[in-house]
Point group: C2
Chain length 266, copies 2
Amino acid sequence: MQRTPGLEIIPLIGLPEFTPDHSLATEIVRSLVGIAVDDGDVLAVTSKVVSKVEGCFVPASERAELIERDTVRVVARMRGPNASAIVENRLGVVAAAAGVDASNVAGDWVLALPEDPDASARRLANELRDALGIDLGIVITDTVGRPWRYGQTDIAIGSANVALYADERGGKDTAGKPLTVTQRCVADEIAAASDLVKGKTAGIPVALVRGLGEYVVPGTDQRARHINRDLELDLFSLGTQEAFEEGYRSALAAVAAGKVLDPRAE
Amino acid sequence: MQRTPGLEIIPLIGLPEFTPDHSLATEIVRSLVGIAVDDGDVLAVTSKVVSKVEGCFVPASERAELIERDTVRVVARMRGPNASAIVENRLGVVAAAAGVDASNVAGDWVLALPEDPDASARRLANELRDALGIDLGIVITDTVGRPWRYGQTDIAIGSANVALYADERGGKDTAGKPLTVTQRCVADEIAAASDLVKGKTAGIPVALVRGLGEYVVPGTDQRARHINRDLELDLFSLGTQEAFEEGYRSALAAVAAGKVLDPRAE
């Protein structure tokens, strides 16, 4: 099949309002009728619909308990009324309110993130292979804010059959110089790209990205979970105010314990 | 013209190795021959080629001075040999080594970022309108790392004719609930998306993104520079270690000044 040399990002139209009674794979296959899919294509799936088919509904009245349950550690606290904390959640993602979300959920419910989005992606990839006979890449997306930048973008929180990075380390640039650092996070870029069509109109939770052949690697053991930086390599593991306060308390404790004899000399 | 309902991202092939003797607009127009462009299309342009045509070359031996010149404040210091600092640069972008880059630059030169990427984008948009008769959106991109996530993605450091955000605040979601926070940074998502075709192969510094009509706003006064979060609203304005040390010093100074009488009681 003739392809443009670039990418196409196609919103999947006509998907239902998902419930635990739906099969995500079945509905996706149905919505793909008339759209050519091929090895090398990637489906970007909003985590929200994965949560819905997996039944991750929690009564809205239990939102606070859910956030607490899904919080591994608090990174920073926003100020002001109704401000939520920025935390590392059980998936290793740093996000406001642990990624718990009430938007686009009907009734008095909130949605927890999928239990294991990498496993969800793997299941979906397998079911789609059974139905379509091809290995699609799967990226499960979530929306997060960023330090230093206003606004949110989508990132990858689950994946299957996708190479997470365009790893150019060890290669050479066009000028023949060694590339020592460059390691593009393709999975997050796919998530962000897919949001451009998903985000346009409500009710479009899945997009097909065509033309990513070199990043679709059937059976790869790379998992979006591994994009999360290890705590000890993270220069921003604690918010500025929280780290300042920890330092302040630490100094006072050192003084109280007699470990600092002359504070002026430190 | 019939368009797919989604996006197309087309790498521009055959652009030259840019020098200050080139006109970016002229070369882009040349490379667009045979490709349909229309209002609502966006060109994503790697800042590196903007720097090259604007002559932002600095001798490699002056790299350290250039980084210092472009640094507004140090945010965090990486550890280890050859580690660069993460700083806010003169464009307001938080990036390693102030965004100064030696990759894909021939000879003993490094490249500074464009003096004013928003102005560069505006100039390019005007020149392309003169040449093509249409208003294209322009996003000038740079590559940055992220806290909490491995790998880099592209972000927007300059823009013209582009709405930076899909601002859904004040709207309602599909379940009729008010959206209070959601504000997708479309400009950064365009930058990330374009990197998927630019990043694939060296020597592709420009991509055309088709199908973004609702975000192309000719003459908008929105500028990518404004995506940078104001310092006082930034919960991560200083690295964890740096903030801890500041807190520690601050406590000792308070003790030394007699402001803390009983450290154990604080």
